[in-house]
Amino acid sequence: MNIINGISRFFVNGFKTTFIDENRYELFLKGIGNTILTALFATLVGIAIGALIAVIKTIHKQNGRKLRILNAIAEAYTTIIRGTPVVVQLLIMYNIIFRWSTHPVLVGIAAFGINSGAYVSEIIRAGINAVDIGQTEAGRSLGLSGSTTMSKIVIPQAVKNVLPAIGNEFISLLKETSIIGYLGVLDITKAAERIISRTANVYFPYISIALMYLAMVLVMNYFVKKLERRLAKSDRN
């Protein structure tokens, strides 16, 4: 009896100190908001940068004379981003490059977006390469220009190929952004840390945020899988 009492007191107390006291649930809500906001906009920045890099690399590969300088920059960018830890990139962005900035959330979005762009560019490049070369040939044989063929024939098909992978990139970012607390941004993880510093109870807040991340990832996973099935169905050729 005592044990059960003890356990239930532990849970009731833990829940109360973690969520109820001083309206701490508001911290979590804010944290969830910032986590989703950062991950979402970082994904969008990543798509924009990634698409640009992918198109530069693809055009350069088709014709070695074109975009030589831009391609060199793109190569350097992907090498640096993929060769250094994201925490280090985040700290460099915050403490050196965007030192003057007073909006840590924006710095976080920029840092994660720039990081994500390097990976998304590879996703998009693979998506473009996966489009049958016959599509380009059909477009060009009709007299369409290279750029029209690329933008109206190849890219729309590539987008279909990459949508699920982009969804997964967003899921990765949901988790990766948990280090944005380094910049003082109140995300989910930071919310837990703040509460722990006041209550000295580590169990409840940490387990709670783990469950929150898990729940968000599972929901997103569900949508990505659904999207994948939808695209697979419309794509049978």
Binding site: S141, G143, L144, S234, N237
Partner: protein, 315 residues
Amino acid sequence: MTETENAMPCDAIISVRGLYKSFVKGKMVLNGINCDIKKGEQIAVIGPSGGGKSTFLRCLNTLESPTYGEIWFENKLLTAPDPYLHSEVITASKTFGDIMASGRFRSNDDIIAEIRAKDLLKESGRKEGKAYTEALKKVEAENRQSIDLARQRIGMVFQHFNLFPHFNVLKNIMFAPTELKIQTPEEAKENAMALLRRIGLEEKADAFPSQLSGGQKQRIAIVRALAMNPDVMLFDEPTSALDPEMVGEVLEVMKNLAEQGMTMVVVTHEMGFAREVANRAIFLDEGVIAEDGAPADVFGNPKSERLRSFLAKVL
């Protein structure tokens, strides 16, 4: 090289002059082809696998860039522009300027002739200067434009159809004419529906390629090319990816086209079709045109042992 710019070699729609093509150094796939494709000709290109038929066909609209040689469409040179063919490029070169300054020649034409005769532009390591590069770039841009314009008049049908899977049938047909502003959307739609009626696939206008059979896809692909009102149609084994029961419907469409006088170049293994429909047959073997003539002669009276043994195998 003393040809002047835009000289038309003859009254052909497409002229091929000294065409060589290699994909890997030292191994020529096409080995010096000369050929004129005239209006109203229906040419069947036959030959053993790997003999270069597809490569030849794809060089005609420069989907494949020739290694050497010239492809002319009407009076436009489609192959990479040779600086020697363009006097405005020559006169922009440093070499030209130097000779001019030396005062050895009287007229520009004399200097140009001298540069051409002695191949002076290609002297190793010589920089011809910015004006030359600019002039050459301009010529190259014009060349790209000529290619796109020529391709608008040269329809191509592929072995694997290559319909656009993200467009429905109607949009597949309308896309190029409207995108290139050759037809208004209304005209393009009317035109597309008329073409679909012609092949009896009107009711498929809203279908997506994934919902069609192979034979239907290939007929749509033919119609997509026809929507541009081409002067020539190129076919690369249009029936060899089809189930046997669908070959007939595609050949029927091609036969109709031939009867209407469309100029056609058809790479095919369908010897029956080559014999009955074509009015010229070309036997392409090891990268050269080994025999070329009326189908009755080529099939009925082969001159070479290679053609005889090829025909024995396929007939």
